[in-house]
């Protein structure tokens, strides 16, 4: 427990140091309003990272989250264009997202196809479906209703609704992970799938549930994304799936499954979010952005690996001295 805790603490310290470094060049960055903005900006990444975390815990990976997001976002925009009321749209994107996740999950569960293959395939299929729906046309701000665009921007207690949704999702997923049978099953299935069967946990069903969770979060994020940036088209959030996986990795979610915490995933996402937002602000050339985030990922992996497993100890230290 202490090792895991300390890993999150270290990540938190690194984030604080990062903020301090940025603040030294550009104090405005750490103004509460700006931090709130960074958090809001990072909300989609956080939401997806929470879902991806569940999937990775079960020894799977979901490369289709960004495509799922884009498809659900487009559906939301199309529904809005048809005059569907907001609550229905919200319900629809979550159900749609969960459904798309369920397709991934079902292929993994019933046919035992490795998740990376399944989601590599559905990633292109989901994105392609957007094209089939729209012939590639964009839906722009002026084609969206004001109510549609307003929700994520609505500020409550100093934070936009988008950020509050992320906060709620963090709390909900944390509770799910630590205090429910399903949450523990995610860990069990990834930690030792063989043993999970012996304890009556269905590996496939649990993986299915993880994909549904990730899908539902992606669906919701799809709406938020489209409403926030006020545009929907085939390519939105292209390549975002790798950012999401990177956030999980930086947050110490073990890619082989079975270990990782919600706090880690959230901080991993924030780390990337801060870097993304800070680079242009502190005046580092945008061309350095990619290399820096790559280096950060590598540093995080190296760090997490170094802190693993002190190993068992046979020798009693006390005796060595005598």
């Amino acid at each position: 427990m202490s090792i895991l805790k300390s890993r999150e603490v270290v990540l938190a310290v690194v984030i604080l140091l990062l903020l301090a470094a940025i603040a030294s060049r550009f104090p405005g960055f750490v103004a509460p309003a700006n931090l709130a903005r960074v958090f809001t900006d990072t909300s989609p990444l956080i939401l997806l990272a929470l879902g991806q975390m569940a999937v990775i815990l079960t020894k799977c990976i979901d490369l289709s989250v960004a495509a799922n997001l884009a498809l659900c976002g487009m559906i939301a925009a199309l529904l809005d264009g048809m005059g569907v009321p907001m609550p229905v749209i919200l319900g629809a994107v979550i159900v749609m997202g969960a459904g798309l996740g369920a397709i991934n999950g079902a292929l993994v569960w019933t046919l035992g196809i490795p998740s990376i293959v399944v989601t590599l395939g559905t990633m292109t299929i989901y994105r392609g479906t957007i094209f089939l729906l729209t012939e590639g046309a964009w839906i722009n701000a002026h084609q969206m209703s004001d109510a549609f665009k307003a929700i994520p921007r609505q500020v409550i207690l100093g934070l936009p609704v988008m950020a509050w949704i992320a906060v709620a999702a963090i709390a909900g997923v944390a509770l799910l992970m630590t205090r429910t049978a399903l949450g523990r099953a995610f860990y069990a299935v990834g930690g030792n799938p063989h043993a999970a069967v012996y304890t009556g946990i269905s590996v496939g069903r649990t993986q299915f549930a993880a994909f549904v969770l990730a899908g539902a979060l992606a669906g919701l994020t799809g709406y938020l994304w489209v409403a926030r940036y006020a545009v929907a088209y085939v390519d939105i959030a292209g390549g975002f799936e790798l950012d999401v996986v990177a956030a999980c990795v930086i947050g110490g979610i073990v890619i082989a499954g079975g270990a990782g915490t919600v706090a880690g995933a959230v901080m991993g996402a924030l780390f990337l979010g801060i870097i993304k937002n800070a680079l242009p602000v502190v005046g580092i050339s945008p061309f350095w952005q990619m290399a820096i985030s790559g280096a950060a990922i590598l540093a995080a992996i190296a760090f997490n690996a170094r802190r693993r497993d002190p190993g068992r100890i046979i020798l009693k230290r006390a005796e060595v001295r005598t």
Partner: protein, 330 residues
């Protein structure tokens, strides 16, 4: 009791003949798919059965397939390299730098290969030496390598490669046979032999099935892994030479998304993404299948994204259908 050690029962070498196995294999399935698509294409478009057009069509997959051969070994050994697209970009950038300093074609080629090898070695050291999981390492190096390309080039492009450099990506050996196609065929043969006919290939399979037991059997697991990353880097370097030559210019954004297409070829070729099984002939067939699908749909002016739906369905379908059938049978 069993004092004389020679009393053991005689165990037959094989129960099924290699030929009957081959008939039921994945490669047989892929071959059927490839022929079917070929016939469909020929039927759907009058332009398909034209040697020059077919020759042009090979550009859709040759560069990716070169990398896919090395990637097939890597995935069979239970690793993966998602940085190949970025290696291509960085190698191309390095060649551009060399070119802008006036280097002639042989030097450019050397620079491309060397960059690929260095990138592969970097991945290999992190994975084999420090024991980090390859999927996350290469997600990191994917940003790092391409990022270096952006740092060097920014918003500029390198153009003006020497005229003889164009041979790699635009040249023909005889008639419609392109240089790239020859490189593709040669690398298929080399990697096929390496994987199926050498003890190195055998250890790759052993590592993919059980790396611990392979190590306990005297296999230099880390060295094999390192070499595999090196090979993948090298092939990415070769692909970079071909692609740069074909485009005649370098931008840091070239070869974007290559990694997933390469993995798609490998997986469609029947290589288990979990490691331990797969063949090079399968990968060759998969490259042809994908090349034929995209070219055939292209002739019908089907948008690329719709092609990618077809590829996605093909990827899942080809794996799912046999499993579904065997499931329904029981």
């Amino acid at each position: 009791m069993t004092h004389s050690p020679q009393t053991g029962r005689l165990i037959p070498d094989r129960l099924t003949s290699p030929a009957s196995r081959a008939l039921k294999s994945w490669e047989a399935l892929l071959a059927v798919v490839a022929v079917t698509i070929f016939l469909l294409n020929a039927w759907a478009s009058p332009y398909f059965l034209d040697p020059w057009n077919l020759s042009d069509a090979t550009f859709n997959f040759t560069e990716k397939a070169m990398i896919a051969f090395a990637m097939a070994l890597l995935i069979t050994a239970g690793e993966i390299d998602l940085s190949v697209g970025a290696i291509v970009a960085l190698a191309s950038t390095a060649m551009g730098v060399a070119m802008s300093m006036g280097a002639p074609t042989p030097v450019l080629v050397a620079v491309g290969l060397a960059t690929g090898l260095v990138c592969g070695a970097f991945n290999g050291v992190l994975v084999a030496r420090f024991g980090l999981p390859s999927i996350v390492v290469t997600i990191g190096t994917m940003s790092l390598f391409r990022g270096i390309g952006y740092i060097v080039l920014g918003d500029r492009a390198f153009t003006g490669y020497p005229a003889d450099f164009a041979w790699f990506g635009q040249g023909y050996v005889v008639w419609v046979i392109t240089v790239e196609l020859v490189i593709f065929a040669l690398s298929a043969i080399v990697f096929g032999i390496l994987m199926h006919r050498t003890s190195f290939g055998r250890t790759v399979y052993a590592i993919g099935n059980n790396a611990t037991a392979a190590r306990f059997s005297g296999v230099r697991v880390d060295r094999v892994r390192f070499i595999l990353f090196l090979l993948t880097g090298l092939m990415s370097g070769i692909a970079a030479i071909c692609l740069t030559s074909r485009l005649g210019s370098t931008r840091p954004s070239i070869a974007a998304g290559f990694e997933l297409e390469v993995v798609t070829i490998v997986v469609l070729g029947g290589v288990s993404i979990l490691g331990g099984s797969g063949t090079i002939p399968g990968v060759v067939l998969a490259a042809f299948v994908l090349g034929l699908v995209t070219f055939g749909l292209g002739l019908l002016n089907v948008p690329g994204i719709v092609m990618s739906i077809v590829v996605g369905l093909l990827l899942i379908g080809v794996i799912a259908v046999p499993r579904l059938i065997s499931k329904l049978r029981t």
